[in-house]
Symmetry: C2
Subunit: 121 residues, 2 copies
């Protein structure tokens, strides 16, 4: 049975931040949801592009070679592989992510923010 | 330079229905936008799963073996490869699609609705 996902309801089903959950699979890609608040970590992904779509709040994506991207609800950006970035949120922000399965949230960096076993919700 | 996409502004940039536009690439996947109104065509995709996220309006996805999925704004569904479906919209509906590059809108069917050269916007 194919079920739809209501983003608002699904975001209401968890509270932790910086811990992406898998909410769908499209071939070898994962759809993830993450609540974010505060500063993350500078990192890049060696082989994976990464799409960020803001559903609630405001996401600032810091970049090394251009001005920050500031995403409001209904806005998305794609960070190409190899590009260092650091997502930051001053208020609790709800983000839908789209990226190849297996993409690690902290990319080339391993630290206390790294989540390698993602929960499916 | 990485640019963000504002969905509302981008949807305002075209008028034609059932003609998906490419608005982003994530590795070998395409992010597409489509305005839809009326009935489409029963079809399936041999190898591609397909994500539909409704941004405005209401999308009914007819399925052979279960009740229709009715997607409101902020809701998405993933139709797995091989599953026959027919999207229908009673009012103008704005849909964000996520699927492997090269996915044909009409899947296994070729008819007047088939769009094989997608515009990038």
């Amino acid at each position: 049975m194919i079920r739809k996902v209501n983003l608002k309801e699904k975001f209401a089903s968890f509270d932790d931040t910086w811990s992406p959950k898998i909410v769908g699979e499209v071939n070898n890609f994962h759809v993830k949801m993450s609540k974010v608040l505060g500063d993350f970590v500078w990192h890049h992904h060696e082989n994976e592009d990464e799409l960020f779509l803001v559903v609630k709040g405001r996401l600032r994506i810091k970049l090394r070679d251009q001005e920050d991207l500031v995403l409001e609800p209904g806005e998305f950006a794609i960070i190409p592989r190899g590009i260092e970035h650091n997502p930051v949120a001053e208020e609790e922000t709800h983000v839908l992510l789209f990226e190849p399965a297996g993409t690690l949230n902290t990319g080339n960096v391993q630290n206390e923010r790294t989540v390698s076993n993602l929960k499916k919700i």
